[in-house]
């Protein structure tokens, strides 16, 4: 039974399109995150939600909008996709500021 699941695993789309990535965790955690991993493996935090409240919003373009309908879900919507958005996006969850549990990632390719 997957703890942190993301869909889709792969996403190939054209520049200018809008796409969403969904994340669900069944660990009962109160905090969820989105990370972006580029081709050089750098992991950069984008957003963090605690009990549905946005607590971390790094310098991410406004085209990226997270939505947390409940504590177990954190979705990421991206408008007007650009070539530089190509990366692997990881969802993660934790209990407070503790160990992070990551999903398997969603590889986004923008053509």
């Amino acid at each position: 039974d997957t703890a942190v699941s993301q869909t889709p695993k792969y996403l190939v789309t054209q520049m200018g399109n809008d796409k969403s990535i969904k994340c669900e965790q069944n660990l009962g955690h109160d905090t969820m995150y989105w990370y972006k991993q580029d081709s050089k493996k750098f992991l950069k935090i984008m957003f963090s939600y605690n009990n549905k409240e946005l607590i971390i919003n790094e310098t991410v373009p406004n085209r990226f909008s997270p939505k947390s309908p409940d504590k177990a879900h954190l979705n990421l919507h991206i408008n007007s996709l650009e070539l530089g958005d190509s990366a692997v996006y990881f969802c993660a969850s934790s209990r407070g500021a503790g160990e992070l549990f990551f999903g398997e990632g969603s590889r986004l390719t923008v053509l």
């Binding site: 493996k41 992991l43 500021a97 398997e104 990632g105």
Partner: protein, 111 residues
Amino acid sequence: QQQVKQSPQSLIVQKGGISIINCAYENTAFDYFPWYQQFPGKGPALLIAIRPDVSEKKEGRFTISFNKSAKQFSLHIMDSQPGDSATYFCAPLGGRRALPFGSGTRLQVQP
């Protein structure tokens, strides 16, 4: 401001050798010092972590050494195995600020 500096960027070790990865941090508010392991196509997963009240923690072949005064902690992998080949990240925690990951170390253990 780079909060976490990880080195080396890549490491090649012979089977049975010792792998050492270092992490230097600036934020004295950090109070939890984990190392994550990431295999290709997977999300990072917690490998081992330490609290600042001890200077060393060992779990099997993996050891964290912590030097609070130098603001550094390191991961030692004894008797390195090809199955240890992965990317390793340090990701110190503390407070509610963005959770910085080190830049990653690609470890390759040669048979």
